[in-house]
């Protein structure tokens, strides 16, 4: 239960992180600060990966219970 809740909530955290990163990436892309583009892109991709992991953890727990 606890693990499921953590996974559930963390997805929103990753969503927030990705939104911030996307705005930063766009901002630095048009400001031609390409170094920043790479940094924020990496952060966004990592957080996406974590979100995928969290989603699968949540899914496993959620549908196990309803069986």
């Amino acid at each position: 239960m606890d693990k499921k809740r953590a996974a559930f909530l963390s997805i929103f955290l990753f969503l927030a992180v990705n939104i911030v990163c996307l705005t930063k990436v766009i901002e630095s892309y048009y400001g031609q600060e390409y170094g920043h583009v790479y940094t924020y892109m990496t952060v966004a991709l990592l957080s996406t990966l974590f979100a995928v992991a969290a989603f699968f953890i949540w899914r496993k727990e959620e549908y196990k219970k309803s069986k």
Binding site: F8, I11, F12, F14, L15, N18, I19, C21, L22, V25, I26, Y29, G31, Q32, E33, Y34, V37, Y38, Y40, M41, A44, L45, S47, T48, A51, V52, F55, W58, E62, S66
Partner: protein, 176 residues
């Protein structure tokens, strides 16, 4: 009898209500909504995360062909204090302005106004960069807008003075 009937009706009513409530099956409903909500949020997370990659790819492409170029732009003897010179950097269609400031420093900026792209000039008397189109003023020392409509700074061109020559060695579009 009439009392009994009433009671009956009442009971029936109650049971009907219970049925209605049970039909709603609230718990399942809430569960399904929460699942759908999380799935939508997860989808958005992935979509937004992946949306950053095209910018990375384009940056890489631009980075590769826009590598720091070192270009000679002027001779130090060419400019007296308070004079300026036009050149283009980093490409032919990006006009720029080199200024030798009153305190004998060389500064250079792309001189397309950040408001509506008029050319910006150096105003020696007031020691400012002036855009005549809508009276936009920029600070000579850092390229930041000081008055008028422009909101963003002029891209700064990094310079190097060596052996009596001024070289452009790079550019910072956003700075300080």
């Amino acid at each position: 009898m009439s009392d009994d009937k009433k009671k009956n009706n009442h009971q029936n009513d109650d049971q009907d209500m219970i049925k209605l409530i049970e039909n709603l099956n609230r718990k399942d409903d809430v569960n399904l909504n929460r699942r759908a909500f999380l799935k939508a949020s997860f989808g958005a997370t992935v979509a937004i995360g992946l949306a950053t990659t095209p910018f990375g790819v384009f940056s890489y492409m631009r980075d590769a062909d826009g590598k720091v170029k070192r270009v000679e732009i002027a001779d130090t003897k060419e400019l007296a204090i308070g004079e300026s010179k036009n050149f283009a950097y980093p490409t032919e269609d990006e006009p720029a302005l080199l200024v030798r400031t009153p305190d004998d420093q060389y500064v250079a900026y792309n001189n397309k106004c950040t408001h509506l792209q008029c050319p910006v000039f150096y105003e020696h008397k007031e020691n400012v960069l002036l855009c005549p189109c809508h009276k936009g003023y920029f600070d000579v020392n850092n390229g930041h807008p000081v008055a008028g409509p422009p909101q963003r700074e002029l891209p700064k061109i990094l310079l190097e003075v060596k052996n009596g020559k001024v070289y452009a060695v790079g550019r910072e579009v956003r700075h300080g």
